[in-house]
Symmetry: C2
Subunit: 268 residues, 2 copies
């Protein structure tokens, strides 16, 4: 079974189907032979069709046979390119993580580098906009895990941590610039048991922020996605909150305050 190169071909196909400015993959793999090119193209087509099905019908309704039909090919043929339905889900997971990451990076990058609140708000707004625009794909990333499916960490942690990485960069940048603090008011003390986790995180990302602000940053992170998930998953009901943009904006402002970021108009 000489299909050892399938994996790399698949990776190449996915990389080829992305157009983000911050494409993580070095894409050093040249596709010389026509067969390899055709293969990569087919995989890219499968991912594209899968993405459409995912967006329209949701993750649990994603059907390899339906993708095969759209591709104009019999169902068993797609198994030449994709190992299983799970494998396709993994590809779509990576695809979605990267698209969200690209959107976030673009939004954050559009704000001035020293406008930390602006960058924070841009990040939150980008997450919300993408989630509202791609609810099914957002659900794949941040909703209930697909039953029986466990994302392979070695392939998804990279793209899956782009948002939190961006957020942590903003907060750390603000701290290094002397513009992140909770001075003036005492909050709850950070439990001693968290010190180890926080130290590891600080080392991993090369951060300077102290425990207090790091823990609050984690809360801002989970709260951001909590607010977005409630809105996307319909927990607000049809009419509890109608001014959702204003609600989210206000929540973002409070979360920035929680994280220690001075508000928009504060003196620089």
């Amino acid at each position: 079974m000489p299909d050892a190169r399938i994996e790399s071909a698949i990776d190449a196909g996915v990389a080829a189907s992305q157009s983000g400015p911050a494409g993580a993959a070095p894409a050093a793999v040249r596709l010389r032979t026509p067969r390899e090119r055709a293969r990569a193209q087919t995989v890219a087509d499968i991912v594209r069709l899968g993405r459409e099905h995912l967006a329209v019908h949701g993750a649990a309704a994603l059907s390899l046979r339906a993708v095969a039909r759209d591709l104009g090919v019999v169902s068993s043929a797609v198994y030449r390119y994709v190992e299983s339905r799970e494998e396709l889900l993994t590809l779509l997971l990576i695809d979605a993580y990267n698209e969200l990451g690209d959107a976030v990076d673009a939004a954050v990058g559009a704000a001035p580098e020293d406008d930390f609140y602006g960058r924070f708000a841009a990040l939150g707004g980008a997450v919300r906009d993408w989630a509202l625009h791609e609810p099914s794909r957002y659900a794949l990333l941040f909703g209930s895990p697909v039953p029986g499916y466990r994302a392979p960490a070695e392939r998804t942690t990279g793209p899956g941590t782009r948002v939190i990485t961006a957020l942590v960069r903003i907060l750390d940048g603000a701290f290094r610039a002397g513009r992140l603090s909770t001075t003036g008011r005492q909050g709850p003390a950070v439990p001693a048991g968290l010190a180890g986790d926080l130290a590891k995180i600080r080392a991993e990302f090369g951060l300077a922020v102290p425990d207090d602000l790091l823990a609050r940053g984690a809360l801002a992170w989970t709260s951001l996605f909590g607010a977005v998930s409630f809105e996307v998953f319909g927990q607000y009901g049809p009419d509890t909150f109608t001014a959702r943009e204003e609600l989210f904006g206000h929540h973002l402002a409070v979360l920035a305050d929680v994280a220690g970021l001075p508000p928009a108009g504060a003196a620089r």
Copy 2:
């Protein structure tokens, strides 16, 4: 087709399978005839088996045929009791909402009535404990919506709002007792567009809390579920946070502060 009483029989069956102290249904329906009793029992069995399947295999893997097998009956027979797979999902949704609601009510009720922080922390802890204990059922309630399935609002809004109702009661009680405020520090102003939504909520629940605190309460609500969802759905990864109880406790404390609740040890 004289199956008009099926619905009420089903409701009775579900009600019979519940044992919560705050059972919403008046349960005035007596089951006189043996046939009605047998029917209610069968429906209750189906819900029980469905709950087990749901807990073990997850919502998307819930199979009516598998439930039928466990029930020792052929698959078409269960359609005499449950209209469809969706209908069973709805029953399980209501069942889970009520179990969570019961857990929250019990935990909140165990704290002194004037210990508002204690009640808030009890609510949060109960939600987290239940979610960690029943991840699949929590996912059914607060994860990605099951594709193609839309919960019928007229049957689920009641049980589905028990947690937020309890939370709002705590915050309103604290406010009426003069123990909920953000005095001493100015937060972001509530956007004007939110006034209508907040007024409607205040009227619906008969609240006294002003806009500022109400909006912050909503943030505490979404943030609480954001933190629980991240933990249950595995967003933290296997080892980013190991001291999860401490992390959650700290987040709860900060969220109470955000909502305007004085910390645990504050003077009464």
